[in-house]
């Protein structure tokens, strides 16, 4: 999410510059660099006040000491050492914290892969198969339907559907396909991934659709004229040109899923650990420095993933 704000920021000066032509004469007296600072200023201040400064605090607090009921502002690595307590002694077995981060990465990867697959084809359908602009608009609005109810309600709605005595199980039992209710439908990794995909596919659809809609149709015609098969066109023309959308969508999904603890908690029956959950429990136990330390670790991991992705695609250039 953070990096996506970065992207927006990169883009904003261009956008603002266009609307300024009317006052250009007046502005010309001021130096152009001053004007662009002025234009970027408000966003920068918001970014500084509500993102960078709190982030600096989180990093500082992560190096504080703590006791049962207060923070002790003295330098201490306890937040970090407590987090990894016993991890080295336990080798080669992985300790809980390492397993938790691995589990989070695994869930994140699954959700990312599935949302990308579904999102790509939904966007493809909207961009290339729907000719009328009105229908394109209407159908993309349709994609927002999951967002018409609250996050929590959308998750909880799965429970009567997937539960032991839920619709799916009772339906299957009645048709005689199964004799015993399927237990792994609910409170399992399956239900977690299902709910996350349900919640976040939209975040893939929009940026990918956005990139695809800007692909010059004549390029596809040219590929077709040159004798490319549909598959070749897809791989050599459409996917490369939709890359910025894919990367932006991926960043959305990955940052959200890495930090999620509510969906994983509810759909996993509180039995599946996630990095976000560790932070929540730490905060609840008033261990703020330890919570901050875990937040920093999570941030670093997420940041690494995003850096790797932006190595693959230079978003600045593509935009």
């Amino acid at each position: 999410m953070d990096t996506s704000e970065d992207i927006l920021q990169q883009a904003s000066p261009d956008v603002v510059r266009g609307s300024e032509t009317g006052r250009a004469a007046k502005a010309a007296r001021l130096s152009p660099s001053f004007v662009s600072w002025l234009q970027a200023g408000p966003m920068m201040l918001v970014f500084l006040a509500f993102f960078l400064i709190p982030l600096v605090f989180v990093v500082i607090v992560s190096f504080w000491d703590y006791n049962e009921y207060q923070l002790l502002p003295a330098f201490s690595g306890r937040g970090y050492t407590d987090t990894f307590e016993g991890c080295i002694a336990q080798l080669p077995d992985l300790c809980t914290i390492a397993k938790t981060y691995l589990k989070t990465l695994k869930l994140c990867f699954l959700v990312w892969a599935i949302t990308l697959f579904i999102g790509f084809w939904v966007a493809y359908f909207l961009a290339f198969h729907i000719k009328s602009k009105t229908w394109q608009m209407g159908l993309s609005l349709l994609c927002t339907i999951p967002f018409w109810t609250s996050n929590v309600i959308r998750m909880i709605a799965w429970i009567p559907l997937l539960g032991r005595n839920g619709l799916v199980n009772s339906g299957l039992m009645k048709t005689g396909l199964i004799g015993q209710p399927i237990e792994w439908l609910l409170f399992s990794e399956f239900s977690v991934v299902l709910a996350l995909v349900h919640l976040f596919t939209f975040f893939m659809v929009v940026p990918i659709f956005n990139s695809m809609i800007r692909i010059d149709k004549s390029l596809i015609e040219a590929a077709y004229d040159a004798g490319a098969t549909g598959f070749q066109t897809l791989v050599n023309v459409i996917i490369p040109l939709a890359k910025p959308g894919i990367v932006i969508g991926s960043i959305f999904v990955i940052t959200i899923v890495m930090g999620d603890f509510i969906t994983i908690g509810v759909m996993g029956g509180q039995q599946i650990a996630a990095a976000g959950k560790i932070i929540e429990t730490r905060v609840n136990a008033l261990q703020f420095p330890a919570a901050a330390a875990n937040a920093v670790i999570l941030l670093v991991i997420t940041f690494l993933i995003i850096t790797m992705m932006s190595r693959i695609v230079d978003i600045k250039k593509e935009l």
Partner: protein
């Protein structure tokens, strides 16, 4: 203010000017605290921070009617309440929290002890809190953070608990209960009488406990003791080795697929039980009542090892003073005067002052809820819905039997930090 404007017809500007002038004058003369006009203009509002247990619309409405005090509820989970006391002590006036949180809250210096002399009914508070025994003289188990261990402070601003009675009370008790396991008798179809049943492989994939570490570990300890694996010196204050042992037993059960899910709030526990996802789990009494009111059989099962108990009460933020503090005392006194107590009793909790609650209940209600007798008439919830038909008996029987059967209290351990980490590992295992 608005009313004055209407009556006298002065413009807002002149009114503001004159009020400011008056206020300035009052401030200058040092008489601001006793100034009648300024004070009467201020509505009697108390910001009330707590979990949802005591926070009923009916209670706040009745309070407004009787005392003119408007209660603004700030509802949070137990953990969040504590967090708020630590980080934003000025964001509330009255605090409603559990006794076990005191071990964290009192050393922070963010709350004000109340003066027992100003609490009218203080001497009538049930001996459960003051002596650790029931009115009938049964000794109550004191493992964990039992209320009588943390009821008094050494002095007004002291951060140390007093070992004997003093004037300064940390929390004026309001409500408490004896918790046990909830079961689905229609699915289990056999008597359950021990905490050990929670880990019985018969209920594999159908059991649950709550994911609030300080309470969950107590339930776990009840189970471990019931299986005969270990006997704790104090379940509410384990050593590191004891924590490891307890979590090992639970982790093995978890890995074997014993638990269906863990729950964190009231509604989650109701949903798990009502949908049949679980058939045996730790539960709160009103949650059992809720499941039952949905037409699903659910029993708050008394067990031979006894109950795990909890209690909560009132104190005020350290930022409260002057008139507001008087209102706080007025409110606490009102709360103990009967209406609220009867209301809580009818939900299956217990009130701190039994005599006033009794005066506010029908004799047949008192007999059902408190004396363990079969209901003479239909038993209704505070909202008027039917809870039990005539003839039903309360699970676990009378107040004496239930509170007398308490084995331990919700607690914060000395090794709390370590326990929380181990609990996390259990959840993640």
């Amino acid at each position: 203010m608005t009313e004055t404007t209407k009556k006298t017809g002065v413009s807002r500007r002149t009114l503001l000017k004159s009020t400011a002038g008056l206020a300035g004058l009052a401030a200058g003369s040092g008489a601001i605290t006793g100034f009648p006009y300024v004070m009467s203009a201020e509505p009697k509002v108390l910001r009330y921070l707590g979990t949802a247990v005591n926070e009923g619309d009916d209670i706040s409405k009745q309070c407004l009617k009787d005392t003119g005090i408007k209660i603004e509820y700030i509802t949070a989970t137990t953990d969040d309440v504590t967090k708020r006391v630590m980080t934003q002590p000025n964001s509330f006036d009255v605090l409603d929290t559990e006794y076990f949180s005191l071990k964290k809250i009192v050393p922070s210096g963010n709350i004000l002890a109340l003066d027992a002399k100003k609490i009218k009914e203080f001497d009538n508070i049930t001996p459960v809190f003051t002596k650790g025994e029931t009115p009938g003289g049964k000794k109550i188990g004191g493992q964990g953070t039992a209320p009588w261990k943390v009821l008094y402070l050494e002095g007004k601003d002291s951060k140390k608990f007093a070992t004997s009675a003093t004037e300064f009370v940390t929390l004026i008790p309001t409500v408490y209960n004896a918790d046990t396991l909830g079961i689905r008798p229609d699915i289990i179809k056999r008597p359950i009488n021990s905490w050990a049943e929670l880990l019985n492989p018969e209920f594999k994939g159908k059991a649950s406990i709550l994911n609030i570490p300080s309470i969950g570990i107590m339930d776990a300890a009840m189970v471990v003791e019931a299986t005969g694996k270990y006997k704790y010196a104090d379940k509410g204050n384990m050593t590191k080795e004891e924590i490891d042992l307890t979590m090992k037993v639970m982790t093995e059960a978890k890995k074997a697929g014993q638990f269906r899910a863990f729950w964190k709030d009231f509604n989650e526990s109701v949903n798990l039980m009502a949908s049949g996802e679980t058939v045996i789990q730790s539960m709160w009494s009103p949650a059992v009542t809720k499941v039952r009111s949905m037409g699903i059989a659910c029993t708050f099962q008394p067990l031979k090892e006894g109950y795990r108990s909890w209690a909560s009460g009132f104190c005020v933020s350290k930022g409260v003073s002057g008139q507001k503090l008087d209102w706080a005392y007025e409110f606490v006194n009102w709360f103990l005067s009967g209406y609220a107590g009867a209301y809580l009793n009818r939900q299956g909790y217990y009130s701190a002052v039994l005599s006033t609650a009794k005066a506010n209940m029908e004799p047949y209600e008192w007999a059902y809820w408190m004396e363990g007798k079969p209901a003479e008439k239909d038993i209704k919830a505070p909202d008027g819905s039917l809870l039990e038909k005539a003839g039903a008996v309360r699970d676990g029987g009378s107040y004496e039997d239930r509170m007398g059967g308490v084995a331990c209290w919700n607690a914060v351990m000395d090794e709390n930090d370590y326990m929380v980490r181990k609990w996390n590992e259990f959840i993640a295992a």
